[in-house]
Each structure stands twice: as C-alpha cells, then as structure tokens.
C-alpha cells in the first residue's frame, strides 16, 4: 500500500467575500470554513473584506511560488492584529509544514481544530502530518473527525481509506509476525508535501469560479451571466435521455442527458454544440473511471493538466493507476451537471457519487476543460467548488 495521502485543498480564499458566489453556492452546502468566515464577515468586517482578500491571495501566491519565509512573515504580521483568523492560521500551518517545522504545524492545526471544530480541513492536514510520522491511529482519528464535521469531504474519505489500508497492513504484519520494516513502504514524503500546496495553480484561469472575485475581474462577467440557477432536474434534452432521471450513470451503454444541457441551451444557445461536446467528454471520463479503463481515463486529461502541488505528472498518473486498478469495482455517477463554455475553455461542475468497493463518497467536483483539436481535455480537477 503506497502512502498516497491526498492533499487537502485549501479552501478557496476569495470565496468568503465574493458577492458573486452566493447564487452558485446555493446548490451545495457551503463548506464550513466558508460558513464561518461568512459569519465573521457578517459580524462586522464588511468594510475590511477587500483588504482581507488581498492578504489571503498574496499569501497564497507566496506559498504557491514556494516563498515560504516571506509568506510566513506576511501571515505573522496579519495574525499580530487578528490572531484568531482561521484562514491565516491555516496558511501558517501549511507554511510551517513546508518549512519542515512539523511539530509547529501540528500545533497550529491542532489549535485550529480546537478553536474551529467544525472545519474539516485542519483535521485533514493534521492527519497527513500524523501519517507522515507513521502515527496512523492518530491520523485515523483526525480524518474521522474531518468526516464527522463534513460528511461529504471527499479528500478526507480518500485519505481515510488509505490510512485504514495502512493500519490493516500493519495489523496483518503484526499478526503474522512479519518484520514490518521490510514490507511497509514509508509514506512518500513528496506526496505528503503536496498536501500543502494549495491548488491555486489555476487561480488566473478566468473560468475558475473559485477565484472570480479577487483574482480575475473579467470572470465576474462570465460567472454573473450564468449565475442564475441553471440546473433543471427533469429537463428532457437528448433523445437518448430518460427524461425523468436526474442522474447520469456513466457505465450505461448510452450516456444520457445532462439537465444542464438544456439549461445551457436556454441561456446560451450559441454554446449548445460546445456544451454538448464538453458533456460527452465529462461523461466519457466518468465512464472510463467506472470501467476501470485507466488508459481512457488518463487520456481524458490534457497534457497541460497540472496535478496538485509539486506532484509530477508521472507520479500523479501512477497514483491514479494504483488507486483505480486496486479497486475491485468502481462506480462513478454524476448528477446536477452544470457546464459553462467560454470559447476554448469550459467548466463542468457536478455532484459526483463515487463508490469503490465498500467506500461510498458523494462530493461536489469541478473540472476545467480546454478544447484540443476536436476533443475537450481536463486541465484542472478540483473537489469542492
């Protein structure tokens, strides 16, 4: 079992203050951090919100470019005036980990879990730190807390699956009196480091809804245009559709409709063709995943696809391959598919019901796609929104 602990994506920093996000976010439960930060904002910090956004995005930019010391300075000076701020403290933990200050990072995340027990992300990162130290029991507890606070937190589910498998392997080693050191590969630290690379590599992608407010003013327009509720559960669209089925099941022989297709049609008729092509690509991707067809699955990704953090394309591919081939059965079912096309770029967001063996996780997912020749390829994949 490889120690492929998955990154906890940083909560999109700009979302809490985005005035454009509300209507879009209504479709899913806002994540806890969003909720709590929104609450803070409502509590009287509205005036300062833009300044917050700048600080957050500056720090995230510094982290992204590996300027950790500088980032830490910014974080510390910010925390000097607002010591309780969860987002900055979260950044601080990430930075400490990247500076190799594991114990400090553990302290930071532990305190965050104590002060904001409703946030899953600090638990997840705490778990990753524990796992890196081989403390899988503690990692397990932390991940279970993360899931308790946010049952649909896919990253924690996936990490927990790995931790369970790792613990099982250890238990079996002890049961069979094997020398654990010979058979257990220590967690790959490089992978674990990824955890703390906030996946903001596409922050300047105008199509990324997560960053519209702060990073890409131009995106405001794009988002605003489609901000009206777009999902119509029972829209009869394509001939093959089962009109009343709101759920798309990729393994089915004839991929069927996406409600969003008709919605998109209604709001942007010119994009219909492109939108359908994107939908086909997304469904094919889910189908390949369901069928454990790794080759087809990987082909759905653009050569420009950037795995999270420092992870190389090769490492990412191997990890995906291991995770897919290692399962006895996989089922990926998409619903609430929402597709927006802007020229050569597209964003598909949907609810993804993932079942693998006994694991069952439902989560919100967003794929960014780019048109390449006649096909749409995935350039970015993110959970949450």
């Amino acid at each position: 079992m490889e120690g492929s602990i998955k990154p906890c994506r940083l909560p999109p920093v700009s979302r809490p203050i985005s005035h454009f996000q509300t209507s879009v976010s209504m479709k899913q439960a806002p994540n806890a951090l969003y909720k709590s930060l929104q609450w803070l904002v409502l509590a009287g910090a509205c005036v300062a919100s833009c300044a917050y956004a700048d600080d957050y995005s500056d720090v995230s930019k510094l982290v992204r470019t590996n300027k950790f010391s500088e980032a830490l300075t910014r974080v510390d000076s910010y925390l000097a005036s607002k010591p309780a701020d969860p987002q900055m403290r979260f950044f601080k933990g990430v930075i400490q980990r990247n500076l190799g200050k594991t114990a400090d990072a553990i302290t930071t995340f532990t305190q965050l879990t104590q002060d904001y027990p409703e946030l899953p992300e600090p638990y997840n990162n705490l778990a990753v730190l524990y796992a890196g130290q081989g403390q899988y029991d503690k990692a397990r507890l932390a991940l279970e807390m993360a899931i308790r606070t946010n049952p649909s937190y896919a990253t924690a589910h996936e990490n927990l699956g790995d931790v369970y498998a790792r613990l099982a392997s250890q238990a079996y080693n002890k049961a069979l009196q094997l020398d654990g050191n010979n058979t257990v590969v220590p967690p790959k630290l490089a992978l674990i480091a990824d955890v703390f690379k906030p996946n903001l590599g596409n922050a300047h992608n105008p199509a990324s809804p997560a960053v519209v407010a702060s990073a890409a003013p131009a995106a405001s327009k794009a988002t605003a245009e489609t901000a009206a509720p777009v999902v119509k559960p029972a829209a009869p669209a394509t001939p093959a559709a089962k009109p009343s089925a709101p759920v798309v099941t990729p393994p089915a022989s004839a991929p069927v409709m996406a409600p969003a297709a008709s919605a998109t049609t209604a709001s942007a008729p010119a994009d219909t063709q492109a939108s359908k092509a994107v939908e086909t690509a997304v469904l094919a991707w889910a189908k390949a995943w369901s069928n454990k067809n790794v080759e087809a699955y990987l082909k759905a990704y653009s050569p420009n696809f950037a795995p999270a953090g420092k992870q190389t394309r090769a490492a990412w591919q191997k990890e995906r391959r291991d995770r897919i081939v290692g399962k006895k059965s996989i089922s990926v079912t998409l619903s609430d598919l929402d597709i927006r096309v802007d020229g050569e770029q597209a964003v598909a967001s949907f609810r993804q019901a993932y079942k693998a063996d006994s694991l069952s996780v439902s989560s919100q997912k967003t794929l960014n796609l780019k048109k390449s020749a006649h096909t749409w390829l995935i350039t970015r994949e993110s959970t949450g929104r």
Binding site: Y164, A165, A168, N173, K174, A175, Q177, S358
Partner: protein, 412 residues
C-alpha cells in the same frame, strides 16, 4: 462491510443469549448453562474475553464498535497476533470486502502463510473452548478424590488447547478459570526426548522457576511438572523439563501446536496461576480430551479401589508381611528395587509401627486410564497416637480386575 458470514462461522454460537453449555465430551450430557459466563466476573479485562466480545460485535454487524474495541485491545496487547488479525480485518473491511477470516492480501501473506493458518487454528480453539463449556458441577474423571491440602487442581485438555483451573472448596472441586494454551509442535503423548510432544498423564507441579533465571522465551515464569512420572519411567519414556511456562515478550500467545512439549500460557494467565496455586500439592492432569463426569457420583469401581486400599492399610497395620506382600506387583519397581528388595523395607516399617493402627491422612486419588488403568495415591501414613508420619505416594495398577501396587515411595 465485514462479511458477517465470515465471522458467523466462528461466532454464531456466541450470539443471542450468550454462551450456553454444551457437551464437553461424548459421554457427558449437558445439564444447565455453566455458572461461569463467557466473560468471567471481575475479569472483563482479560484479553481473550475482549477478543470474544469483538467477535460478538462483528456477529451483530456492529463493526464500528468492533473496530474501536479491537483498536483498544491491540493497544493494550500489541503482541496479541490474533487480535491484530481481527483488527486488520476490521480495518480492511472499511476499504474492501473482507471475504475470509484473516483476509490478508496475497502479497503480504506469502511471507508467512503458515502463521495465518496457526492464527485461524488458535481462533477456532479459543472459540470452541468458550462455546463448549463443561457442565456445571462436572469435573475431570481423573480427580477422584483430592485432599483438602490440595487447594487447587489443574487439568489440561490438549485437543481443546485449554487449561482448566479448579479450586478445591469444601463444597467440592470448582472450576474457577480456564485459559488458552499451546502444546507440543507434534501434539501429545510424549515418549522420547526431543519428540516435541506434550506428555499425557497425572503430574504434580514440582517447583517454581524464577523468571530472572530464565530466558525471555519463557515469559513471566515456569512451573515444572514431574514428567517422567513413575508410570512413564516404567514405560521407558525419556526426556524431561516439561514446564508450564509463559510466552516471549514479542508474543502474547502462541499457536495451538507450538512448543517442544511444554504447556505454554499467555503471561497474564500464567501469572494468575503462579499467584494462585501451591507448589507440590497441585496436581496437573494432562489429557488429550478431558472426560468430564459428575462430581461425587457413586462409582462401584472406585469403591472397589477404596476397599482394596483399606485392605492394604489393615494388612500393614496388622504386621502380616505375607498378606501385605500380596498387594505388591511382581514387577514392582522403586528406582531399581524389586518386590523382593522392597519386602525388608516393609518389614522395617511394620516393626516401627508395633501393631498400631495406621491411618491414611490427606488422601488423594488420581485415576489415569490409557491402555492400562492406574491410580496415583498420595497420603500421609500416620500411626494412631502419633502426631506425624510419612508422606507416601503409590502407583496402583489394575490387572485382571485386581488393583496392585507397582510403585511406592516416600514423597518429599
């Protein structure tokens, strides 16, 4: 989900109303549920009881509680391999279907497949011993009569991998605890040195070895027994150093067939025995399968033995050497002394008694049946009017329907 059926095979009898008594041997009919429940009162911290509780939770499909319990158990007993195996299954069941008890991935298993087989055997043995309980009030047939000077008695059922500890109360022999044990790698019926078998017979604990003088391998201590006993010696059996001992630091328990002939207990269990029993006065019966019989039940054959023993006592009291000599087998042997050699010794003893009536104090009778029938008799021989006498041990053999003495000696 952990497949319920996987564990159902092992745990179905543990469900519902809890453990019920079952026939412990073919000759014994179950009576009523035994007083001792699956989890002995006040001993709910015992590792085995906790393991069984985990099985029960799995049987109820409460895998979350089972996982939590298993985690606590392996934390307390990290070297309890069987617990680790169950813990591994419970963890695995969260990521993949578990299809067998001990569903170790093939890649991991190939390093030590034999260990998995042993653990499955251990699990079966533990469960079997817990679901098939001796009926209440029944005792091993070997314990015919135990002097009140023997406060405890031990019986080992090798086939069940189980040691039963009895307390000799005024009300009778009472089962107070029982433990999983391991015996010889090649099983039982030791006959020669190095045959990796555990002896079968009636023995006594002879001493207690200080763990400081022992290798770690023997755990918290060792209680040697008197193998080879007089019957074994007569039969030409060889070897020695048969102990009840503990486990190495890295092993909580060992597979059912694991030792070179010793009886091996988990350290906490051995410690409990060491703390409980007296050296030298505690009999240890090791049987392949214990024959459980109702206590204090009329038994004409044993009445016949007691009558015979009483006749011997009277003959010795009377000083009639010819009559006394008739109780001794022609192949009598005490460390090379024949019946002919023994007669002068008897004559000297009789002379010292000077016609006074002999009394047999603190009489214990242990009955051993294999291809022959043997009675191991222990008593204090005290003449009327005397305050002290001699502790004696005799081995009687039943031949052609008549009990006859094949060994007699002073007991230290």
């Amino acid at each position: 989900m952990l497949s319920k059926t996987v564990y159902a095979v092992l745990s179905v009898c543990l469900l519902g109303a809890g453990l019920t008594s079952a026939s412990a041997s073919a000759s014994v009919k179950p009576k009523s549920p035994v007083a001792r429940a699956s989890v002995p009162v006040g001993q709910d911290s015992l590792a085995e009881a906790r393991l069984i509780q985990i099985y029960r939770l799995i049987g109820r499909s409460d895998t979350r509680a089972a996982l939590d319990e298993a985690q606590r158990l392996v934390k307390d007993h990290p070297n309890f391999a069987l617990a680790q195996l169950v813990y591994g299954d419970l963890l695995s069941s969260r990521t993949r279907p578990v299809t067998a008890f001990g569903d170790v991935p093939a890649t991991q298993l190939k390093a030590n497949a034999a260990a998995l087989t042993s653990l499955r055997d251990e699990s079966v043995a533990r469960l079997k011993a817990l679901k098939e309980r001796p009926p209440e009030g029944y005792v091993p047939a070997e314990f015919v009569l135990l002097s009140r000077t023997s406060k405890h008695a031990i019986a080992v059922d090798a086939a069940r991998s189980r040691l039963y500890l009895f307390e000799n109360r005024a009300s009778g022999l009472t089962l107070i605890d029982d433990y999983y044990i391991s015996v010889g790698k090649l099983g039982v019926e030791k006959s020669t040195e190095g045959d990796q078998r555990t002896p079968l017979g009636v023995y006594f604990i002879t001493s207690q070895l200080d763990p400081k003088t022992l290798k770690d391998f023997y755990g918290v201590g060792a209680l040697p027994i008197n193998y080879p006993n007089m019957l074994d010696i007569r039969r030409g059996k060889t070897g020695g150093g048969i102990w009840l001992h503990g486990t190495p630091p890295d092993q909580f328990s060992r597979p059912p067939l694991a030792s070179d002939g010793c009886v091996v207990l988990a350290n906490p269990d051995l410690q409990r025995i060491i703390n409980t029993v007296a050296i030298r006065s505690t009999p240890v019966v090791i049987a392949n399968q214990i024959n459980w019989v109702p206590q204090n039940k009329a038994n004409p054959q044993l009445d016949a033995f007691e009558a015979r023993l009483n006749a011997w006592r009277k003959a010795k009291s009377s000083g009639n050497l010819a009559a006394l000599n008739a109780f001794y087998a022609s192949d009598f042997n005490n460390a090379g002394k024949t019946r002919g050699d023994w007669l002068p010794i008897l004559a000297r003893e009789v002379a010292q008694t000077r016609g006074r009536e002999l009394q047999l104090k603190d009489l214990s009778l242990l009955h051993w049946r294999d291809k022959e029938e043997t009675m191991v008799v222990t008593f204090g021989e005290v003449a009327v009017g005397q305050l002290t006498g001699t502790s004696k041990r005799q081995y009687w053999s039943r031949r052609a329907g008549q009990w006859t003495i094949i060994y007699e000696g002073t007991r230290l």
